[in-house]
């Protein structure tokens, strides 16, 4: 069964069958990753360009590895955002790359909507590897894969996304994907970090972290971007850690076993205390491995469409 779309721009509007198909296909590739020879010839002869306008070592390596494991030829094209204003336009860049006969483009960009823009100016399959504060669909897919792997299902689960929801592309993709798969989604964070109108997406808002722990099966804890403008949105890191940080004390008080995910890299002692982070190492590293499998599934399904 093929995917309904020839691009993966986000999880907004992606039907349940497609998400199911990607997650199920990822199981097969997850097995490949445990073999002694971790390579399949599936995308032999296909060329994938990783077009990264924003630094992201993890996501880029994960995609690059996924491409290599599928025997695709992969090329990295990293552009510093600072050169955008003086350099050539994105349209010219992508036309040039396309002229070299590439099949797929994985794009990371600080401006929302860039993957949509690329679909209008080039004919390759476009995969969104994160656009501004809009979407990061493969991260949400690997989060869902990891939850399903651990808890056996997504439907009916209560998942809370914790942190700077307003400036997170991971949050929006998770909300769309999880809701489509039948999970109940809430968000928790300081009110300045919860986007206006988020309730219109059918998402509950919780301002108390203990309540969030109490009422959910899964917490997906976002990284607080200390290096960015996000610092204007709360009084101090100390206050954030005290009121929204996940600590062992809080988890013990709740008296329940809750699954905690984190897209990484962690700010230890801010959104998650060091002891909790150490206890979570297993799942965080599994998320990373699963990320390669999920990206292989996406590349395979899009790359074999035509």
């Amino acid at each position: 069964m093929p995917l309904l779309s020839r691009h993966l721009l986000g999880l907004y509007g992606v039907p349940k069958e497609d998400i199911q198909l990607i997650l199920d296909t990822a199981i097969t590739f997850r097995e490949v990753l445990d073999r002694p020879i971790k390579k399949v010839p599936t995308l032999q002869g296909k060329t994938v360009v990783n077009l990264f306008y924003e630094n992201s070592t993890r996501t880029r390596i994960s995609f690059e590895l996924a491409e290599k494991r599928l025997s695709a030829d992969s090329i990295n094209f990293s552009v510093s955002t600072s050169s955008v204003s003086k350099g050539e336009t994105l349209k010219d860049t992508i036309r040039n790359i396309e002229a070299m006969k590439v099949d797929m483009v994985v794009v990371r960009h600080s401006a929302a909507g860039t993957p949509q823009f690329l679909t209008k100016v080039c004919s390759a399959n476009i995969i969104n590897a994160g656009d501004g504060i809009h979407e990061h669909p493969t991260q949400a897919l690997l989060d869902m894969y990891s939850i399903r792997e651990k808890l056996g299902k997504l439907e009916g689960l209560k998942v809370c996304i914790v942190g700077d929801v307003a400036h997170s592309r991971v949050a929006l993709s998770n909300i769309y994907g999880l809701k489509t798969m039948g999970a109940k989604v809430s968000v928790c964070g300081p009110s300045t970090m919860i986007p206006k109108y988020i309730e219109d997406l059918g998402v509950d808002v919780i301002y108390n972290i203990d309540e969030a722990i109490q009422e959910n099966d899964v917490l997906n804890v976002l990284r607080i971007q200390l290096e960015r403008k996000a610092r204007e949105y709360f009084p101090s890191v100390r206050e954030y850690a005290n009121y929204f940080g996940i600590t062992n004390e809080r988890l013990e008080k709740s008296g329940k076993d809750i699954l905690i995910l984190h897209p990484g890299p962690i700010n230890r002692g801010v959104e998650i205390s060091s002891d909790v982070a150490d206890g979570m190492n297993q799942i965080i590293l599994r998320q990373v491995t699963n990320g390669v499998a999920v990206r292989m599934a996406v590349l395979y399904l899009l790359g074999t469409l035509n």
């Binding site: 336009t89 929302a112 909507g113 100016v121 501004g132 809009h134 929006l172 986007p195 206006k196 109108y197």
Partner: protein, 430 residues
């Protein structure tokens, strides 16, 4: 030359004039006769049968960005005037955010000279402050003498209440308004209206309160100084309400709305279409309804396009990087007639008030009269023609319109002014 326009409907609300199926004789650029034309008079160089069409006072767009001097690749004074004529306008006022800005008599004279022989009247609006920086008042008296119609730092609001106060007080000597782009600087800088759509699209939001704050400031400043403030491109429900209240108090506040703000919502951005990106941004359905109510009850005095040409290479980029603004001169009349007249929101008389009379009154310009001995300044309107917007047929040098392929009912089919006629795509000297 002798021109006869026959079987036309003639409407001019300032004269309480409403004639059906009359003929007009224009000879050597002067209205010679209105009414029946005798057989003896009927030999002419040109006769147009305007059965079912309307002759109305020439439309005036008080908010146009000509890109000359500075960005002649996007629009020149002449191409902007051609665009205006093609859209049914006989007069425009052009904003000062050119390079250099319109902040000296030399730039005003340059623009007036370039436009001098055109059918379309061009009235420059000067910057309130030197280089629109919000620091030092522009040489206002000199600019008034050079013939500017108003003052504005459009693109931004006048930076501080203190400089606005001085400008309003100074301009009381000349009875000219300050046209304000109302936006609080500290809340500005986003890419679209803050709404459920900005959350869905992950675009940095501009909250409506950014506009409301400056509208409130400006109303209070107008009240305090007694000066005149014209609110440019009003777009929020709250702002309309504040202007309504200010008018009840008889303050010197007027307001304009653009066709895009009464006909589109931020749903238009869902495909990241940069031709739907402008500032103020497209708002919500509630705001659009408030614009309609404001037009109906007279809170909003006039309609202006905020015609803002941009080159394709500037617009064909990532949404957040695209410049703000769309062109509007050639779609405005059609949108007003389709969305306001045919939907029975405004009568034809009200349409004429908002497009021809009120903008001139705000700028202290005389309103064209249909009288023997007057120079004709008309727009000729076909209320019922159904047509499809085609950006490739625009006279403007730019193409950045969200209305491409939109079906409209009603358009201007010609204009007459300054001894010239533009009809069927050609200019004719009268």
């Amino acid at each position: 030359m002798k021109l006869i326009l026959k079987n036309a409907n003639l409407i001019n609300p300032v004269q309480n004039l409403d004639l059906k199926g009359v003929a007009l004789l224009i000879e050597d650029g002067i209205i010679k006769k209105i009414g029946d034309i005798s057989v003896k008079e009927s030999n002419s160089d040109r006769t147009l049968d305007l059965s079912g069409k309307y002759i109305v006072p020439g439309f005036f767009d008080m908010h146009v960005h000509l890109r000359e001097p500075g960005r002649e690749d996007e629009e020149t004074i002449i191409s902007g005037c051609d665009s205006a004529a093609n859209g049914g306008f006989t007069g425009i006022a052009c904003m000062p955010n050119t390079e250099p800005a319109i902040d000296s008599a030399e730039v005003v004279q340059f623009i007036k000279k370039k436009a001098a022989s055109h059918l379309v009247d061009v009235h420059p609006i000067a910057a309130v402050t030197v280089e629109r920086k919000g620091e030092v008042l522009s040489p206002m008296a000199e600019l008034v003498e050079a013939g500017v119609a108003a003052f504005s730092d459009d693109g931004t609001a006048v930076k501080s209440a203190s400089i606005l106060r001085k400008a309003l007080e100074y301009l009381k000597m000349y009875n000219l308004p300050i046209i304000e782009h109302c936006e609080d600087e500290s809340l500005a800088g986003g890419a679209m209206n803050e709404s459920i759509n900005s959350t869905l699209l992950g675009l940095p939001p501009i909250p409506s309160v950014a506009e409301d704050l400056i509208v409130m400031r400006d109303i209070l400043m107008a009240e305090y100084t007694g000066g005149k403030v014209h609110i440019a491109h009003i777009s929020t429900k709250q702002a309309v309400e504040m202007v309504r209240e200010a008018k009840k108090k008889k303050l010197n506040i007027t307001a304009e709305v653009t066709p895009h703000h009464f006909s589109l919502t931020d749903d238009a951005i869902k495909t990241y279409d940069t031709n739907s990106k402008m500032n103020p941004p497209l708002r919500t359905k509630d705001d659009v309804e408030a614009m309609i109510d404001g037009l109906k009850d007279g809170t909003i005095d006039c309609i202006a396009s905020d015609h803002a040409p941009h080159s394709p290479e500037e617009k064909e980029v990532e949404f957040e990087y695209a410049p703000n603004g769309i062109i509007g001169l050639e779609t405005q009349t059609g949108l007003v007639l389709s969305e306001l007249y045919h939907k029975k929101i405004l009568s034809l008389e009200q349409v004429i008030e908002k497009l021809a009379i009120n903008p001139r009154k705000i700028l202290n310009l005389s309103v064209p009269l249909f009288e023997i001995g007057e120079k004709p300044n008309f727009s000729i309107i076909d209320l019922d023609e159904i047509w499809t917007v085609d950006i490739n047929k625009f006279k403007s040098k730019s193409r950045n319109s969200p209305f491409h392929n939109r079906l409209l009912t009603g358009r201007a089919i010609g204009v007459i002014n300054n001894g010239k006629m533009f009809y069927n795509g050609e200019y004719l000297n009268l």
